[in-house]
């Protein structure tokens, strides 16, 4: 009974994380389409939510990596996963509150690794998987998206550079319906699978599934639904601030950025690399901007992303380890997770109200 309750709390927490992931990342997926007026904001957000949902069903390679390639499944308990999830959610909330760019994916992986380390020592962490399947692809993917989008926009300008701008702009605006859809699909594929992997890991730790099992269908459906709902809910906040906050780019640049980002994320998802979709999309946008004019890119933002890269994994790991330790103060039952969950919900409520009173909750959410 106690184990079932812990599992329910862990699954609910994982889905809450998935929801915040969709909520947090909507801006990255739809910003380009809205800023170039390829799609009306309401349509772009709804379209992204639907394709995020569909994307979650496309592949399970990333879920397998998360469930079996980063921590030793045999040494993991549901309490460890709970600690990791809280580490990720807490770090996401902190960065959201202070307006820092961060990767939900790195926070999730860092949190789980930290909690596993605290629970079972270094043997619980698969260092090779962490470096080979997370850290190195995390560095390669944004760079690759930068190069692909940069080369793509140079190719586009070479082909259509001498044409009348009107038809070209209309053509790429239509093309952004395809590239934006692929980007939303790619986002759903890579990010929803991380939650699927975590829930699968919890089911393995609980003894419900055998080690190495694929995510059950209900896990795929619930993860897809949570990220799609998060995307849809997050999108409405963006509409009010979209016009002023997004870097202006032409429709061809938007098409190249979305196409480059989607190509990298979809290819990596097929191989099973759990990327930061945020960083990859940012790489694509910067590549499309830099190829036209180096000064078009906000290099300060790029610097912040690099700082977030360095900080997110260890910070989430420390919080995940601390949360696991705190949970164990209440024993191995469901009391610890329940108390911490209530405290987290109360903390989120207080932070949200405080932000709301300052009147800057929308801009912080989209930072």
């Amino acid at each position: 009974m106690d184990n079932d309750l812990i599992l329910i709390v862990v699954v609910a927490t994982a889905l809450a994380f998935d929801f915040t992931n969709g909520f947090h990342d909507t801006a990255n997926v739809v910003a380009t389409s809205i800023s170039t007026r390829a799609m009306a904001p309401r349509i772009a957000v709804g379209y992204a939510a639907i394709l995020n949902f569909v994307g979650a069903f496309v592949s399970i390679e990333v879920a397998s990596t998360i469930a079996g390639g980063i921590v030793e499944a045999d040494l993991i308990t549901p309490l460890v996963i709970f600690g990791g999830l809280i580490g990720a959610i807490a770090w996401n909330l902190m960065t959201w509150y202070f307006g820092l760019p961060s990767s939900s994916s790195h926070a999730l992986i860092g949190g789980v690794v930290g909690a596993a380390f605290a629970a079972a020592g270094p043997d619980a962490v698969l260092g090779e998987g962490l470096i080979g399947e997370v850290a190195i692809p995390a560095l390669v993917a944004p760079t690759l998206a930068f190069i692909v989008s940069g080369l793509a926009i140079l190719m586009i300008y070479r082909i259509v550079g001498r044409l009348r701008p009107g038809p070209v702009s209309r053509g790429f605006r239509a093309g952004q319906v395809i590239s934006g859809g692929l980007l939303a699909l790619a986002h759903g594929t890579n990010d929803a699978q991380k939650t699927m992997g975590i829930i699968t890991l919890a089911l393995i730790a609980d003894g419900t599934l055998a080690a190495g099992a694929d995510p059950p269908f209900w896990v795929i459906v619930s993860a897809a639904t949570a990220i799609a709902l998060g995307t849809y809910m997050g999108g409405w906040r963006i509409i009010k601030t979209m016009g002023s906050r997004i870097l202006k780019m032409d429709t061809a640049q938007g098409f190249a950025a979305q196409g480059g980002g989607a190509a990298v994320i979809l290819a990596a998802s097929h191989v099973g690399f759990p990327l930061s979709t945020t960083h990859t999309i940012s790489g694509g946008v910067m590549g499309a901007g830099a190829a036209k004019r180096l000064s078009a890119v906000r290099w300060g933002v790029a610097g912040n992303i690099v700082v977030a890269w360095v900080l997110t994994l260890p910070a989430a790991a420390v919080i995940g380890a601390g949360t696991y330790g705190l949970t164990r103060l209440f024993g191995t039952g469901a009391v610890g997770p329940l108390i911490i969950s209530v405290a987290i919900v109360a903390g989120i409520g207080a932070a949200f109200v405080r932000r709301l009173r300052r009147g800057s909750v929308i801009s912080a959410a989209e930072a």
């Binding site: 190719m155 082909i159 990298v264």
Partner: protein, 81 residues
């Protein structure tokens, strides 16, 4: 350290991601740009009374549409498979 790093990184997977991303990302955007070139030039040629050139550019546009649609569908089929 470098030897151990080399052994833990999935170079084959990374290489796959690199060449697929480069070929798909650049290939599809180039094909789409050729489609726009074909569509725009076809209209211009038709207006100037050059029917043969207009037909050729229309063919270019149609080939580009087929290439883009085929590439996207092929990618999704591989992903789903």
């Amino acid at each position: 350290m470098s030897a151990s790093l080399a052994s833990v990184v999935d170079w084959s997977g990374l290489l796959d991601v690199a060449w697929v991303s480069l070929s798909a990302g650049i290939g599809v955007t180039a094909a789409f740009a050729l489609g726009i070139l074909g569509a725009t030039r076809a209209v211009d040629m038709r207006r100037s009374g050059n029917a043969i050139a207009a037909a050729a550019y229309t063919v270019l546009m149609l080939l580009a549409i087929v290439a883009v649609t085929g590439a996207v569908a092929f990618a999704l089929l591989i992903m789903a498979g």
